[in-house]
Amino acid sequence: MKIQVAGENALILYFAQSVSDEVSQNIQDMTMALQTFVGDLLIDLVPSYASLMVIFNPLRCDHLKVRQLIRQASTKRVNDQACVKGSVITLPAYYGLEAAPDLQDLAKNAGLSIRQVIEIHTAMEYRVYAIGFAPGFAYLGEVDARIAAPRLATPRKKVPKGAVAIADRQTAVYPAQSPGGWNLIGLCPQDMFNPNAKPSMPVQVGDKVKFESISRDEFLSLGGQLSGQVNEPLIEMKQTGDACAT
């Protein structure tokens, strides 16, 4: 593990150069060990793929004290094997083409049928490596190399809420409508972030996520919404058309 200064009140711990379940577990363990100091000496923790950023209160302690806490936390982890294991969460996903504008292209480029892409995507248990970008946006990995797909050359201005997406070997569900450049292969009817619910999001770093293919009817009965998905690109095209109409 390498410790690097990030800012006046932050150190960043690099656990490895690449992503793996073991690295992710180590980060998760360290996050939990340091969690007890949050609210006092520490202000916040940001676990990610292969790093953990530790934000501290520079008026309560300096970076040397924080380095000491980190060292203590690493020894504690060795002694304490009873770390909490993440739970497995199943997310329903509707893979119908009306909900999946990039599914056909992704299948074609991968030399697979649409059914095969769905089978591969739903076969795997994905690990939640990081949460960020937007509240509730969970970076899940790693996607089977056969269905990995690069980001779109031009990101969409609007990706609908609930979009199930793939970028390289990562997959995710967009918690809210936002811009985005990932390949959209389905829609998940479950809220990924609801500020008024407790907990506010169904997954946390270290959990495992599995997708389950559902029908259009099931999707709608679970509260999923299709209105707008089909019309949206048309509206956008019209707007672009108007703007370009000279």
Binding site: A6, E8, V46, A130, G132, F137, P195
Partner: protein, 313 residues
Amino acid sequence: MQLEILSPGILSLIQDAGRFGQHGIGLTSGGPMDPVAFKWANRLLNNDQHATAIETTVGGIKLKSHGTTRVAITGANVSVKINGQICKQWQSLNLALGDVLELGYATSGCRIYLAVSGGFKLQKQFCSNSTVVREGVGGLNGSALAAGDKLDCHALISQNDPHQLLAEKFQPTYGDAVTLRVIPGYQQAHFSALEQNRFFQSEFKVSELCDRMGYRLSGPTVACDIDGILSEGICLGAIQVPKDGQPIILMNDRQTIGGYPKLGSVLSLDLARLAQLTSGGRVRFEAITIDDAHNLLALAQHKSEQTQTEEKV
């Protein structure tokens, strides 16, 4: 007792110290862009210095008081009028039932703080009242203040206590240039000595793209020998350098994680001054160690505690 927003001006947001301990679910910290001016607004009213107040950018906010209270306005220089009568910033002001408080537009600086006696009473979301519009969290309903919004505040028991003011010599002044002290770190090693030299010796300008999320600068190109990294935590003030070589300073509403290389981070005391600049503002950088940073923060804290408001005579 309520204050009613008659006009929100350019952008008015409810802010407290910020949202902490919530990065794990992807929530950013928010909070006042200029915490120095924010704390003074509260201190002038004998509030907790982190009490919930309004941050208004550039100006133009207009409010009506539905009761008696006290307010204080700090930050960017702006005209303050109560029922059309000119009043001063950096001091407590009485508002009576029906009074209309109106701010003009900033002549220097751009973030203005409006605090009310006892702070605004709002339901916290994720342990904070700070509004982050992008996340739809905080404030009244996750959005910026709008005309017709009514903000609950504490009824003032006595308006007869002496008024507080901050002597002019202690009031910050806002120019059009800042030197930002930088704690090098993160991917610093991936910027060659030549590139770092260019970064620390050149002047940059605040571009049109500057908001509560980040300040994009324009100036000489700073190259990094890597294009990207595995996405990792971004702290307040982090200096991100995307492939186009134009640095972006990440501010209060920054994304929590990201994958662009970073050179280090700006000292928070200087970020407060950067936050008062608008596009065209001039920026230079100066490297300091993390130990220097801690000394500067402790000194600033000490000075702030030693500086007292005065009773108005």
